[in-house]
Structures are given as C-alpha cells and as structure tokens.
Symmetry: C2
Subunit: 356 residues, 2 copies
C-alpha cells in the first residue's frame, strides 16, 4: 500500500472526506516532499478520497512537483492563502468532514482554517508511520551501520585530555564523511555528567577513571538511528563494573522478553528492565525504556510504564535502560530493534564493557 | 533590561498576570535554557510579575538549573504534568489572566491547558527579539565572519565536475571546523537550479558556463547568519552579466535607502529593489526582500511588499533581491545589515562578480 493510500484509509476509518496534514514529517511520509526545514511551515497537505494535494509557496513549488509526482501541487500566493486553497479543493470535491492533527496545528492556524471549514475533526495520525515497510527498515539499518562504524573509529581518539565537545565533533565528522547527518546533537558525558540523561556536551576535559557516555544517531535518506554506548577510561572499580553489567543485563532481559513471545507488550518490556535494576539496589531510570524511531528520532510506539502499545512486526524501537547516580556517575546502553520476521538488533556494536 | 524583564513588561502592557511561553527559542531567549532539540517540547515557561518558572522533565532539569540561575526550575513527573504545574503556580501567585502564544501552542495543548486555566489570552511575543542588544549583534557578526571566511575558502574547490552536494558538504565542513554549525541546510544551485529560490542541493555536476548560487549560514552561540553569493564558472555572456549586475544594483539601492533615512520603511526598501529589477525587464522575485534574523534564521522584522515594519536601531535583517528565469538561470545576492549607530553590513564578502 502506498503512503497516500495509507492516509486515505484513515479517511475511511474515521468517516472523513478529507485529511488535512500539517506535521512536516507526516507530509514527507505521505508525499515524499520533505522540504528544507522541519521547523517552518513550508507546505500543507490535503488528502481526499480521490487525490493528495500539496499546498506550497512558489519557493518550494518546483521541488514539490519533482519529489511528489503522485500528488497535485497547488501554488500558494498572496492572492491564494493555504486556507483559501483548502476551500477551493473542498468546494470542488464537496468535502464536508475534514480531519486535522490537533497535536500539531496551532491555535491561530486552527482559528483561521475553521473560519472557512466548520466541520474540522481531530484525528490522530501519529501512528501512521508505526509499521515500517522493508525499504524503511533497510534505511534505518544503514543508518545504524554508519553509527556502528563511527563508534569503532571514535574509540581511537578517546583519551584523557580530550573534551566532551571534541568527541562529539569528531563523531559527527565521521558521520558526515559517510555522506550522512547526525540525527540529533551528539551527547557526550564524562563521569558525573553521565548521570544527566540528556546532558549537553561541554568543554569538560576527560580525566582518568571515568565513564564516557556517548548517545548519538545518524540520518540516512531521512531515516534516523540512535544508539548509546558507555565505555570506561582508566582503572574501573568493582562497584562501577557491577553498575555497568546491571544495565547490560537489564537491556538483555528486555530484549529476550521481546524475542520470546509473539506480540510482546511494551509496558512489560519496560517493567522487566526497570524492575531488574531496582532489584540490584539502583534507582530506576527517569525515562522510558525505549521509543519508536523512523523519520523522527522519537515516534510511536512507546516502551514506558504507561504504554498501551503492543510491539508488532514492522516496528523499530530503542531499548535503552540506564542507571543514573546524581553528581556521581551514569551508564546507559541503547540499541535499536526491528521486528521483521523476528526481533533483530539493528545496532551491532559490542555491548561488552570497553576499557581504554 | 534582562530578557526576563522584557517578558515581564509584556505582562504590564497586556494587563496579564502571567505569560505562558511554549516556543523553544522564546524560552531560550527569556531563560537562557536552549535544551537539545528545537522540534520537541522539552520545557515550558511561565513568567509572572515576581518570577520566571521553567517547567521541565527530569531529563533536562539539571541542565535548566545550570543555564538559568535567575529562573525557578519546576520538575515535571508522571504525578505533576505541565498543566498541573501551571495550576500550582497560578494558585500560589493568584494568577487570573494568563497570556499564551496562539501561533505556537497546538490545539490539543490549548484544550488541556484551558481546561484548568479558563482565562487564557492570546498575546503576540513574536517581536520580543526584534531589537537586539550589543552582545546579540556581536554574536551575529561573528557568525557572519565565519561565513565570509568559508565563502573565501570554498572558491578554491569550485570547478567543473564537482556536484552541488559536494560544495554544500565542504562549505559545512569549513563552518564546523570553526566550531560552529550551519544555521540551515546549505543551498547550492547550478545554472537552471538557481532559478528555484529554495533549491535542495543535488548530485548535479557542475558544467562550464553556469552560475553557481550558494545560500548558507552559520550558527554561533545560538545566533544565526545567512548569506548568498552567486558566482560564475566559465565564459559569461553579456546578458548574464547584465542580470548579475541588476541584482547587485537592486541590493545596493535598497541598502542606500536604508542608510539614507532615519527609521526607514521596510515595505519601501522592498519596493525600491523590486521596482528596479522590473524596470530592467526582469520578473520580480517571488519572495520578500529580506527578513530579520537572530536565534532563528527567519524572525521579525519582515521586508516585504505587505510589511508594516519600520527598521529601527537594534534590528538585524537580510537584504536579498534575486532574479529567477525558470528553467534557465538565477542570481541572488544576500547580505545581513545591523542598525547600530547607523546601518552596517555584517557580511563583508565582495559583491563584485566573481568568475572562475
């Protein structure tokens, strides 16, 4: 099924005549038009039973025509705003009920659109991209491969005296040399900084006898990877070793659960890793066990204590337990798993403790 | 005046008790907490007459405490959602009327927040960052300097046989080697591609006798630059030369107007460049003459045919006329101007025609 057809199926399921899409990455997914900036409104999309329209300014019109031959491009201008373009299509196709993304459309956009389209209906299409096809999984796999290679190479330069920012910069350079981009700003955290799950890489210099946590990702053909490794530099103590292996074992237990059953439960996977860490006397991690990944670094499904998601074939997600001891140290290990014929690791870097 | 005080002034001007800020870069501006991703909701901010609260998850709590010592950090959790945190503050400080950014808050966020805070009032704070202080202008100037240096260096590698993507990659590498980031994906467009104002760099190979348009920017300490140069490779024809110099002269005329008067009119600056290009027999450009720039590449003011903005001391903006001949060729020249004691160019690369 094409991605346009997937969007059209939502029309049927929700008894809608049209689906107005505003999230840039949903637009990219449905139409293949990704534009330049994910933070600006470069286009809107209106999917109907008969067609898929891309509404865009003259700045992006030619690009949209080229990337999205299956869509009807509509050129906006000072005389035709996006709401007027929707109105013209709604009149032509006699659209009554139009769905929209209430978790994306802003209040002022909603006011403007609803002034002309009174029958707007909130509809959740967050899960549209949850089940990946083979080409999508292959793109994520390739992104993971580039990440694995970058991780191997970065080990050569990590030594006392280097800064967090230096390592982050070099990691991103290796990724860029592979004609890819970082999928998010690389996190490098030494020692106590590793206790902050989303630490921002700083000018701090690496001293001996510390963990080095590296959380980074690659974007390949719009698809993202995400991985975390924590290595040690210097002479590791027994308690630090125990901490590391507790995280590793927690991750392994969650992975084994996912592998051991059909339609594993996301909440249960989280619980297994979380409970194991607590059972070993450590605090539980202040984040989910994992998240879906694809065009976005964080997307459906969610592997959290409150998730209702069932993990199904075609899903790709992270498993990333951690232990964080405030102002002291932290360890996280993160891998991506795809459920194809069976759950398979996409990131292949060793999870054994690396000591430099 | 501190940026928190600037936000508090909005309370007074709009007769509000609180200002709820959701745009990540407005949050960064007011609090100095920039977080990791500009596309995710990592924090919200509530400014009151007495204080500035940052509401954030445990993932970012430590970082927010460090970056924003003048703010009160509020840690969110499963038990305290952001709406509940707002409610607690509203009760404690007896807030009635709370302003919010209706062009940023999503419909579902608004529904959730307004279920507990019935007196939400839309308020525009888009112009909060319009007037820059000296430190901000210095950061933009530094970003421009790095861009100028990158432009000089990139000229060495441009020759027939190179691809658009190669040039974009090298430009971004030079920027990164200066410990900065590109402020947006670099646009490189050869020949007919230069007729598309926001062309995405492709694998197209440079052939002789073509314009090469490069539109790129640098992010330095969160502040952005933006510049465009169009050079020629090969033997230039008289008509191509005329086209280039028409753009150059149009830009110069707009710049001279801005320099010649106190409180120049943004619409008039646009009109001067636009009319000159049309008077020379070319089509008018399908975009504004320019845009403000700062933490975002595009922010207030706007230099467009419909702008009501007056250009005042402290504003930083682009002047970027272009001529686009569809399927044939295009030229754009873009520089940044800051109005400090007088309007000054921040980008200093020569605008003379460069032929390689």
């Amino acid at each position: 099924m094409s991605h346009i057809e997937k969007a059209q199926q939502i029309l049927l399921e929700n008894n809608l005549d049209g689906l107005f899409i505003s999230s840039p990455l949903q637009i990219g997914y449905v139409t293949n038009f990704f534009g330049i900036s994910p933070t600006e409104r470069e286009s809107f999309v209106l999917v109907t039973k008969n067609a898929c329209y891309i509404l865009t300014s003259p700045l992006y019109f030619e690009d949209a025509k080229k990337t999205s031959p299956d869509c009807i491009p509509v050129e906006l201008s000072v005389d035709v705003s996006w709401v007027e373009a929707v109105e013209q299509i709604a009149n032509k196709e006699k659209l009554q009920r139009i769905g929209f993304e209430e978790y994306n459309l802003t209040v002022s956009e909603y006011k403007y659109l609803s002034s002309k389209q009174p029958n707007l209906t909130p509809v959740t299409i967050k899960n549209l991209r949850e089940i990946k096809d083979i080409a999508e999984i292959e793109a994520i796999k390739k992104a993971c491969q580039i990440g694995d290679e970058a991780f191997t190479k970065i080990l050569d330069i990590i030594k006392p005296g280097i800064s967090e920012k230096d390592i982050a910069f070099q990691l991103e350079s290796i990724i860029r040399d592979n004609k890819s981009l970082p999928s998010f700003p690389t996190i490098v955290a030494f020692g106590p900084h590793a206790a902050v799950p989303h630490h921002r890489s700083s000018d701090t210099i690496l001293e001996k006898n510390n963990f080095v946590l590296m959380d980074f990702g690659v974007q390949f053909e719009n698809y993202c990877s995400d991985m975390t490794r924590t290595i040690y530099v210097g002479h590791i103590s027994d308690s630090e070793k125990k901490l590391y292996y507790t995280v590793k074992d927690a991750q392994q237990k969650a992975f084994e659960y996912v592998q051991s059953t059909n339609n594993p439960n996301a909440q249960q996977a989280d619980k297994i890793a979380r409970d194991y860490i607590v059972s070993q006397g450590y605090p539980q991690f202040p984040h989910s066990l994992g998240h879906g990944i694809g065009l976005e670094v964080h997307e459906a499904p969610s592997l959290s204590p409150y998730s209702k998601d069932v993990l199904k074939p075609g899903m790709v997600f992270s498993i990333e337990p951690g232990i964080y001891i405030p102002n002291n140290t932290g360890v996280r290990i993160e891998d991506l798993v795809a459920i194809s014929s069976s759950p398979t690791l996409l990131t292949l870097s060793s999870r054994d403790l690396i000591i430099l």
